[in-house]
């Protein structure tokens, strides 16, 4: 029986339930000392001078590290210490001492002179005529004739006239594309809906902060850090530190969550490593929850406007979408671009125009957050579609079926296609299991002070990449060692994708070892553990390596026992055929004798240098399976989750209780049912927090954040979600993956968020409040007919 599709607990679970699993802050080294950071109290400033004399004279203080001692990133990149902090909480310098209290006291003793610089926390304030720029070199990055350049972009006063009607100002965008005839699309529409919608920024806040420990020994840096991707973080940090990869030993076996904020580690790990090098002692840098709130990354917020035209039958004829993205001070985040593509894919309008601009602000740096761009836009647009459905008298499920894409659909600027889209099948399965026909009748039902709302949210996202390597080794103990370069942040893909290799060899899971998370264990080139890539990329890579290993086992058997290789069957630890039968253990011994490709002494030419290095280190120990994923990959791999929700909204208190939730998915072949259910439910729960509670609040006068801890930007707790969360899968294999699997991490967040925004709008009689999070005060203001606490176009207030 194939391992793919079964519930098998991951091999690290015993370590996790006994406390033996070591996360970054659990490592110790002889003589380990502690580092603390000096954080900027201002949203934008220049460090005029630093006097650390008093601090360095304190007993137990070992040294400081300044920004100038780090490799400098090119603008608009981020160097993890800076003499020009661009947000409150940005690290200026790091100090090491024998213990943390001493380090913190010494930080307080540093005399620092800061020159305040102009700052801005709202992108529209920066775009206004004469508005401040978040950076000295501008407020936007544009791609011009000379490549990318930083510019200061200001719109005209007339552009802001629309604010009078609460409509998003829409000046000159930096990004724009269009397909079809927009004017004709709106002219042909029977109904047109239009809204200005605001989506907040929100911190990732994984349970484990970005702590790290480092020491240097014999010229090698040993780094223990919290990261999503293991192999790819190793490469990234070696590059940042200008080290040969062999001179960096990187250990990251467990990661207490990242959600996009630790894809290839975190910039701050450079500081730990370089401070340890400077003072020649092991350094532990523990990041506390305050610091995590500052440097822990956030999802970019959107201020946007949408206009949608529909025919009487519900078919969308045209969509005009404008997004102003709040970028934070660094880098280049593509959430808004993705949001445009997602909109076009999910609604399949006859014509669409996308316009957007991303503006730097003096707020914490942004990074991808689970479903980046998609999770925001579906939560914003689904209630708008509901409004149109209500006006047309069409069932909200039916209007989504009318517009949903199929495998032939095209989308976006380049009219891309998917590998295969089965969202309709997922919707039908979900509606049946959820009983949409029955539940949707509860809409608006009143029970005392409570009104029932029923919602639905369709959420697509990219579900996998390809072209990486698999590396397998059977030593003379007969066990299959599956080397995995991907990370271990709880999706279980580091174990589950190995099943593709085991299945190729018809091997029992008990006879497989998964090796991961430690660069000294010889890991293959892998995708990043992010963007729902691994379930797809590494079932393919492990399938490729499994087929390679199977072929070698057959050839070894034929060479040993006679007959043709193809006549031998590989199953349950034996190779059997015309000449007899031999065990994998015996075949491993034979491979060592035969050498060459069998034992890894000759490696394929098309594998990545990382895999070559690892394969070379493992050569001669048994029979090796090693291959690059060269399977066909035509079209983009997209997965879908459709969220169905029932809420009760209390019209006296503004409270919303989520009564029921179901996620229906199109994610190809089900790799690990229980884990898939957990991804759908868990991702959706993150979406509930996005829709309801997690927000940023800044003092507009001083640019100081107020909501950066867990209780002030509260993620959902166990009592905020239904006691049972259900799911169902369309279970249609992806046509381009030989084992049929697609990734699933991203799309549930948008599905959860959109099902809630849709259900709350439904409970309010179809009124789209057009902002998130839909906190109690926002809902109460609506119920009581008061103006909203903040203007529609104000963000972070």
């Amino acid at each position: 029986m194939a391992l793919i599709g079964q519930d098998i607990a991951p091999p690290d679970l015993v370590a996790k339930v006994t406390g033996r699993a070591k996360y970054a802050e659990d490592f110790r080294a002889e003589g380990m000392v502690f580092a603390k950071l000096l954080l900027s109290p201002m949203p934008h400033a220049r460090v005029r001078s630093v006097d650390a004399t008093r601090a360095l004279a304190m007993p137990g203080v070992l040294g400081i590290l300044r920004a100038s001692e780090l490799p400098q990133a090119d603008a608009p990149g981020e160097t993890p210490l800076t003499d020009e902090p661009k947000y409150v909480g940005e690290p200026i310098l790091a100090l090491a001492a024998v213990d943390e209290t001493t380090a913190a006291n010494a930080i307080e003793a540093i005399e620092i002179d800061l020159e305040p610089l102009p700052f801005v926390i709202d992108p529209l304030a920066s775009l206004a005529p004469g508005g401040p720029d978040a950076r000295l070199d501008g407020n936007a990055m544009v791609f011009g004739e000379n490549g990318r350049e930083l510019k200061s972009i200001k719109w005209t006063a007339a552009d802001f006239d629309s604010l009078e009607d609460g409509r998003l100002p829409m000046g000159e965008p930096t990004d724009e594309w269009e397909h079809g005839d927009l004017d004709a699309g709106f002219a042909a529409a029977d109904v047109i809906v239009e809204d200005t919608i605001v989506h907040q920024s929100l911190t990732h806040h994984p349970m484990e902060t970005r702590s790290s420990m480092a020491y240097w020994q014999n010229g090698k840096c040993h780094l223990f850090a919290s990261t999503q991707s293991a192999g790819r973080t190793h490469g990234a940090i070696a590059n940042q530190l200008d080290l040969d990869p062999d001179d960096l030993v990187f250990v990251a076996q467990y990661c207490g969550g990242g959600f996009g904020s630790k894809i290839a580690g975190a910039p701050i790990y450079q500081v730990t490593a370089l401070l340890a090098k400077k003072i020649q002692k092991p350094v532990m840098m523990r990041i506390n929850r305050y610091e995590e709130g500052y440097i822990g990354r956030g999802r970019p917020g959107f201020q946007s406007w949408v206009k949608m035209g529909l025919k009487n039958d519900g078919k969308i004829t045209a969509i005009d979408l404008y997004i102003v993205q709040d970028h934070g001070p660094y880098g280049r985040s593509g959430d808004y671009i993705t949001a445009g593509a997602v909109t076009d894919l999910m609604y399949q309008p006859g014509a669409m125009r996308f316009r957007g601009i991303t503006i730097y602000t003096n707020t914490p740096p942004r990074a991808a957050q689970r479903g980046p761009g998609g999770a925001q836009i579906v939560a914003m647009l689904e209630p708008v579609l509901d409004k149109a459905a209500r006006e047309l008298g069409i069932d909200r499920f039916d209007i989504r079926m009318t517009n949903a894409p199929d495998s032939d659909s095209e989308f976006g600027q380049n009219r891309d296609k998917t590998t295969g889209t089965f969202v309709r099948e997922a919707m039908v399965a979900g509606a049946e299991r959820f009983d949409w026909a029955g539940k949707s009748q509860l809409s608006g039902q009143r029970n005392g002070t409570k009104v029932t709302g029923v919602g639905i949210g369709v959420s697509p996202y990219v579900g996998g990449s390809s072209g990486f390597d698999g590396l397998l080794l059977i030593r003379p103990d007969g066990k299959l060692n599956i080397h995995q370069g991907i990370g271990n942040l709880g999706t279980h893909s580091m174990a589950d994708t190995g099943r593709a290799a085991a299945d190729a060899l018809e091997m029992a899971w008990e006879d497989c070892n998964v090796i991961w998370g430690d660069s000294s264990q010889h890991l293959p080139h892998s995708s990043v553990q992010a963007g729902s890539q691994t379930a797809h990329a590494h079932t393919r890579a492990n399938h490729a390596a499994g087929l390679d290993l199977k072929q070698k086992l057959q050839e070894i058997a034929a060479a040993t026992m006679g007959g043709s290789a193809a006549a031998y069957r590989v199953s349950a630890g034996r190779i059997s055929g015309p000449g007899g039968s031999m065990s994998f253990a015996r075949a491993a011994e034979r491979a060592i004798e035969m050498g060459g490709k069998y034992s890894g002494e000759e490696l394929p030419e098309d594998i990545n240098a990382t895999t070559t290095r690892s394969g070379t280190a493992l050569a001669g120990q048994g029979v090796m399976g090693v291959a690059k994923d060269n399977f066909s990959h035509e079209g983009g791999t997209w997965s879908w989750v459709v969220g169905f929700a029932v809420v009760e909204l209390d019209v006296e208190t503004g409270d919303v209780v989520l009564k029921e939730y179901l996620g229906a998915t199109d994610c190809g072949t089900v790799l690990h049912p229980r884990s898939l259910g957990a991804q759908i439910a868990g991702g959706s729960i993150q979406g509930f927090g996005q829709a309801r509670s997690q927000k940023w609040v800044f003092d507009p006068k001083w640019g100081v954040p107020f909501a950066h801890r867990l209780y002030t930007a509260r993620p959902p707790g166990i009592l905020d979600v239904p006691l049972h969360m259900d799911w169902v899968a369309a279970e249609i294999p992806d046509p381009e993956n030989p084992v049929g699997v697609k990734g699933i991490g991203e799309p549930p967040v948008g599905a959860g968020a959109a099902a809630i925004t849709s259900a709350i709008a439904d409970a309010l009689g179809g009124k789209c409040l057009c902002r998130t999070p839909l906190t109690t005060d926002v809902i109460l203001a609506e119920l009581e007919g008061r103006p909203q606490p903040a203007q529609l176009t104000e963000i972070h207030i």
Binding site: K16, V17, A104, M207, R289, G677, A681, G682, I718
Partner: protein, 212 residues
């Protein structure tokens, strides 16, 4: 940077915020916003900022073992466990009683170890995640239940949740799913694995009943 930050959330049946703060004040330590700090005694004992009449050498009972440990007056139990006793299974997620990752049992009652001063647990029985297994390595029924249900994703919150589950099944061997959720509501899981966590808790109760 020196304002006193008062945690809003409180440990269930733990010392109140008031007693925690009073404890700190009584021992003369400065509460700093540079929270989550750890001081190694010995390294700087001569320059220690804390002056206290409390004895520093304590005898603690942790996981059934008697351990002597040098503890500063302002030191939290989470820090003592993690940095003095090598018990890193107890996690620090927030250090301010917001997340429950540091949940341990003191005399059979769950507490947030980040919000308990080690000086207050003298003569009390402390149990951490490392203390659940039997001497022969048999896992506690709650741990077995989590494995049976494939509970948790990143599992950084797992040690805290598991301690709360142990307290639940000790107190209420036959809980409803809702009672289980109430009992676990002092723990936060950012992966949102609540469904499997509740499955694990219900299975844990079943395993515990079978063994009773």
């Amino acid at each position: 940077m020196s304002a006193v930050e008062i945690p809003f959330a409180e440990a269930r049946s733990g010392p109140s915020r008031r007693t925690f703060i009073k404890g700190v004040i009584a021992t003369g330590a400065a509460v700093s916003s540079s929270n989550y700090l750890f001081r190694t005694p010995g390294a700087l004992s001569a320059s220690t900022v804390v002056r206290s009449t409390l004895p520093r050498m304590l005898t603690l009972n942790v996981n059934g073992q008697t351990r002597s440990v040098d503890v500063l007056p302002q030191e939290t139990l989470a820090m003592t466990l993690r940095y003095k006793l090598g018990l890193t299974g107890t996690k620090l997620g927030c250090d301010r009683a917001e997340c429950g990752a540091c949940t341990v049992m003191i005399d059979g009652v769950t507490h947030y170890a980040c919000s308990v001063l080690t000086q207050t647990v003298r003569d009390r029985q402390v149990t951490t995640i490392e203390g659940l297994e039997s001497a022969d390595g048999t896992l506690h029924p709650v741990q077995q239940a989590v494995i049976a249900e494939g509970g948790f994703q990143c599992a950084f919150c797992a040690p805290g949740f598991i301690m709360s589950m142990v307290a639940l099944v000790n107190e209420n061997p036959d809980p409803t799913r809702e009672e289980a959720a109430q009992a676990l509501s002092g723990n936060l899981c950012r992966c949102g694995d609540y469904d499997k966590i509740l499955n694990s808790a219900m299975r844990a109760a079943e395993f515990s009943r079978r063994m009773a």
